[in-house]
Symmetry: C2
Subunit: 349 residues, 2 copies
């Protein structure tokens, strides 16, 4: 009789934030890989490139000139949509929502192109967090959803190596936060406790999937991770939105982000590609509602699987049936790589 071993035996894990299941087939890692190999991330990014539209003092596509900024720098995207005043829904009976309003912002983290968050100083990262909080506060006063996200690396569709993120504010609640809202609400109603607070406590006790922890923050490979090196970053205290973080918690966040991202970079000794973003309680009209089922958190979704150049393809079965991962969340060795010292030194300062 064989007894269960998560590394050997296929199983399904429940993702309570999305009400879906992920198929874990760790034995599939034994297959040889003969498929596509990616270009490793660029190693030599100039500190200032006169042709890079994100660098201080340069001209953007629309003719505007960037200020000579020395910290973060925010601008509204150069290709916004001019929305109609009184849209005519036409005769189409496929279902459409026309009254869309969305703003796209780009936010540079630093004046230099040759740094990334883990290579920035702690005080510099705090400034990024402060700006995020300010944007959620301001845009969130009217918009129901303010999505902060960073696409890092060419593999993640990022077309500019300068450290930056995007902030898209919309007058609708997008699918993912709407789903997460439903799931967190249902859990809270049933268990009288926010889902992610209970989960964080369990993980902090078990320690099996903890990547970095501090007194205020926790970064784990969630039990239901679909991307091989996916992590979930969240405060230990019950916090609804990023702008609710205290000054101390922002310092703590800068600290844990730098350590988490250094671990990522050290894993394959490259500047690790990923998409990340923040999810917190909805804003705008939702500010006056009870959102105590929510807990602020960030998702990190890195595409790599086997090495710096072999990614996980979320294709065929994943698109049509179910997400599937090839090694267990407990196996991913980012948990063990060091986060103390970056092996990458773009920055000479």
């Amino acid at each position: 009789e064989v007894s269960f071993d998560a590394k050997e035996h296929q199983h399904l894990r429940y993702n309570p934030l999305r009400d879906t299941w992920v198929l874990v087939s760790a034995h599939r890692m034994k297959r040889p890989w003969a498929g596509q190999v990616e270009k490793p991330p660029e190693e030599h990014v100039p500190r200032h490139d006169p042709h890079n539209p994100l660098c201080p003092g340069n001209t953007r596509a629309n003719g505007e000139i960037n200020p000579d900024y020395d910290s973060t720098f925010l601008f509204e995207n150069d290709f916004p949509a001019l929305q109609p005043d009184a849209p005519d829904p036409g005769e189409d009976n496929c279902i459409t929502q026309y009254n869309i309003c969305q703003h796209f912002f780009v936010m540079c983290f630093h004046p230099w192109s040759d740094v990334t968050l883990p290579l920035m100083k702690k005080e510099e990262v705090v400034k990024v967090i402060d700006k995020w909080a300010e944007l959620v506060e301001e845009l969130g006063s009217t918009y129901p959803w303010v999505q902060i996200f960073e696409n890092k690396g060419a593999m993640m569709g990022c077309s500019n190596p300068h450290p930056h993120c995007q902030v898209w504010a919309s007058n609708f609640l997008p699918n993912e936060p709407a789903l997460s809202d439903r799931c967190q609400r249902a859990f809270h109603q049933k268990h009288g406790e926010p889902l992610l607070l209970q989960y964080a406590k369990q993980e902090a006790e078990k320690k099996e999937r903890v990547v970095v922890e501090t007194s205020d923050w926790l970064a784990v490979v969630p039990y239901w991770a679909t991307w091989p090196y996916q992590t979930l970053l969240l405060p230990r205290r019950h916090v609804l939105r990023i702008n609710d973080l205290t000054a101390e918690e922002r310092e703590g966040l800068a600290d844990i982000m730098r350590r988490l991202l250094t671990k990522y970079d050290n894993l394959f000794e490259i500047s690790f590609p990923y998409s990340m973003g923040w999810h917190g309680a909805p804003t705008g009209p939702h500010l006056t509602e009870d959102n105590s089922h929510w807990q602020l958190h960030a998702h990190y979704y890195p595409p790599l699987l086997r090495s710096a150049t072999v990614k996980k393809f979320m294709v065929g079965y994943e698109m049509l049936a179910q997400e599937q991962r090839d090694l267990t969340p407990e196996q991913v060795n980012i948990i063990k790589t060091t986060g103390a010292k970056p092996t990458l030194y773009y920055r000479v300062s």
Copy 2:
């Protein structure tokens, strides 16, 4: 006052098969692209490669020798999981399903590596369809879900240029079909008609998004397409599963598949990458249930956006908030490219 123009104005479209919304921001196509460029698909694939484990007569990784097959060829994947008899759920209170049973099959379409479905003869494609039907019939007699899918092209994680698909049968209903089942059932209850039958009728009348149509079949860019060149292929008659297709309908399917895929290939004059797969009513224990809300269909999800080498990145905002497309489904010119003659001629015969 500006009146609504889908090509200029952002809007949301409802996907009735998934109960989600897709954000359409066609104006974003005006942005210049400075991001990652993919390798175009390989142009010269040898007809027989002695080292390719999918070719007739060759040895696979597990030592088995392929027969000298001259049509389709099916084998069970060489890296199956040996599942435990009596799994021990352990103390973990994260939710897990341990009683998983899944079979992975690989199915070659043709003995030659230098053909693809649109370059195969109609009779050869009919044999592929017959084999699909046979597998759904056989595996579906016990398994609730039999997922037939094809990952085509290195860009889609396909590691072997030999024309083939995969068939994964499982003792659970995966997320995507479970969601689609719920949505189709709710629509049917409300409207007394299967969702996709009503939809196909509308599209066939409107003609705006039809890519290819025959007397029995319809291929459209669905109103809610998320991938730029996504299509939906379905019979006009109410058919629950692929094994319910008549001989005539299978011929018709071979015909429309070849024309649809030729259009794809002709679009950028490359062997077009995609993931495709079939969704039909669930099987196994569901065979005795009323599944009249279901309609058989195939989804084609191609990754390209701008050209043979620039794909659509489903990253940041898409992963964290909502799928977003950069040109309207009505704009995608695959609707206009010819499907009559392949511009690609790997096959000399």
